[in-house]
């Protein structure tokens, strides 16, 4: 029983990482219908931004929460700028081209960031500083840390905040309008370019936050850390119903749980295969993802 609970917690912890990254994926997708493959790399940049920020700050603030907060904010801003820059330079020129063109550009940007990062940061892993001291807890034999809880809580909170933002605020609604019909949105007086820029800024800041929170938990960062996480997060987003914010979190958690239980109780050698298999089965039963709304198409 303890082992089961522990695995449940392991799964939630892993899943909340996917969820956190999937949120940004789903946001950008929701607006641009773009699988932003560079998202995973922005997540990596976020972690490195945090790494260098903490090196710079070291000793200037007294550590603890304020220092952690400053590092987090600095990285989020840095990545928001990077996100906007990517959108402006790479995606905007091809926005009206086919979706596949956009996708290829995204893959290109992802490759570019990864390879530049390998050159500038070095290919070997770096230790991410423990900017928030870790504490361990035990409950009925189940062990967990404050950081695991932090990641999970952040994912859920962000999900709620983003959902409210998209549903309730004017800007949020404008985002949805741009997503569905950019030309019509312009007719409504919506500045499509700035909405898209904003979406990227927001998505990238989320990715940065994810990068830092995750690196607290798994304090080894390297230029390719976004590759696998990015793909998994994308899978999670699709599983939950791409474009749906609660879906991203649900998808992430399910993916994390699936991987964990397969590895814990089945065969860890076949972990990825079985986890993907489960996903495929879910998608075959629910073709628009768990919380996705099927594209309404009136004939």
């Amino acid at each position: 029983m303890t082992a089961f609970l522990q695995q449940l917690l392991n799964g939630l912890s892993l899943g909340s990482i996917y969820a956190l990254v999937a949120l940004g994926y789903t946001m950008v997708y929701g607006v641009l219908r773009l699988i932003n493959f560079a998202h995973g790399d922005v997540y990596m940049l976020g972690a490195f931004a945090g790494y260098y920020a903490s090196k710079l700050l070291h000793g200037r603030l007294n550590g603890g929460l304020p220092e952690a907060a400053v590092i987090l904010v600095v990285s989020m801003i840095a990545c928001a700028l990077v996100g906007m820059l990517i959108e402006r330079l790479a995606y905007r020129p091809v926005r009206r081209a086919s979706r596949l063109t956009l996708l290829i550009v995204a893959i290109g940007v992802s490759l570019l960031i990864e390879n530049l990062a390998q050159i500038f940061f070095g290919a070997d892993p770096k230790f991410f500083p423990q900017i928030l001291p870790e504490r361990m807890f035990e409950w009925r034999g189940v062990l967990f840390t404050n950081q695991q809880i932090l990641v999970l809580a952040t994912a859920v909170l962000l999900m709620a905040a983003l959902t409210l933002f998209i549903r309730r605020t004017r800007t949020g609604k404008a985002m949805r309008a741009v997503a569905h019909n950019p030309d019509a949105a312009r007719l409504m007086g919506i500045n499509v370019n700035s909405i898209i820029s904003l979406t990227f800024a927001l998505g990238s800041a989320l990715a940065a936050a994810g990068g830092i929170l995750v690196s607290l938990n798994q304090p080894s960062i390297d230029p390719l850390m976004g590759l696998m996480t990015g793909i998994k997060a994308f899978v999670a987003a699709v599983l939950g119903g791409i474009g749906s914010i609660p879906g991203a979190v649900l998808g992430g958690l399910i993916l994390g749980l699936a991987e964990t239980f397969v590895a814990g109780y089945g065969s860890s050698t076949y972990r990825d295969a079985i986890a993907f298999f489960i996903l495929i089965i879910i998608l075959l039963c629910k073709p628009e993802g768990l919380l996705g709304k099927g594209q309404v198409e009136k004939v």
Partner: protein
Amino acid sequence: GKKGPESNDILIGEFGALTGSIASFGQSTHKGVALAVEEVNAGGGVLGRKIRLITEDDQGKPEEALTAVTKLISKDRVSALIGEFASSNSLAAAPFAQQSRIPMVSHGSTNPKVTQIGDYIFRVCFIDPFQGEVMAKFARNTLKLDRVAILRDIKSDYSVGLADYFTKSFTALGGTVVADESYSAGDKDFNAQLTALKGKTPAAIFVPGYYTEVGLIARQARKLGVHAILLGGDGWDSDKLWEIGGEALNGSYFSNHYSVDNPSPVIQGFVEQFKARYDGEKPDALAALGYDAAKVLIDAIRRAGSDDPKAIRDSLATTQGFAGITGIISLNENRDAVKSAVVLEVKDGKFVYKETVDP
């Protein structure tokens, strides 16, 4: 061809993963190789000629390795090759080297099959069966353990090889392998496997992976209350191991080619030189192997007295008692390095010498 064979340099080709997912290892070995070549050139070269190292990137992909080697051999006309670190890439490239009769010295490919490709293929590292046996003997005879679990990197031939040979030797010595779990290089979450292992209460866990993952594995294991001794192979050797794993690693053991604490002036000289050349970075096992591979090759060229590939091959085959950083290297009739291994204990960021195991 401006600087083709007309120029008087001796051409050596190197292929490795400078980019891609295993670039951290490829870059490390490249630093070792480059350092060796620079050092020789600074000392006047060999046979009175300079050595020119041509390095090609293979992105860590087998077919790219083959392309890189084809290019090095047919376009650049190198006299000998150094590479690759990953056995899969060596296995992809070696047949062409063999067919073209260009000697190839691998620094880190531990799969026994690599040198079986043909009589032009050599290596300066020990092979999986030996290292697996070293740790099995150490666990069984020195630490007197009888219940050990394995956590292998399923994507790495090196890790899989070590795990298999460890299992074989350890059970032959009367121990039991209580669990065999796996992960894939690049993973960052090992909680599921560790929780599963915890239930089997092993006294030690053999993790024959790379430092890139082992640090995190150690951390996560301790957080889950897994206090088994961690054991590993030369893939552990790196500064980064302690940086990432920290105290969670105290009391772990791994086999390696050499101990940095070894006061031997050769080794200390190498460490100093490496640090001076690369901004204070400490050489890891891969860098040392790259360095040795280059040195062994250059030594063979010197002894051959020519840069003719056939002559180099023949003199490589007679390498005996070469004092490298990673040990005394003698190449046997299978063109594999015969050298002893050391077992090191991780202690507060230092790798402390425990014992030497001879082949």
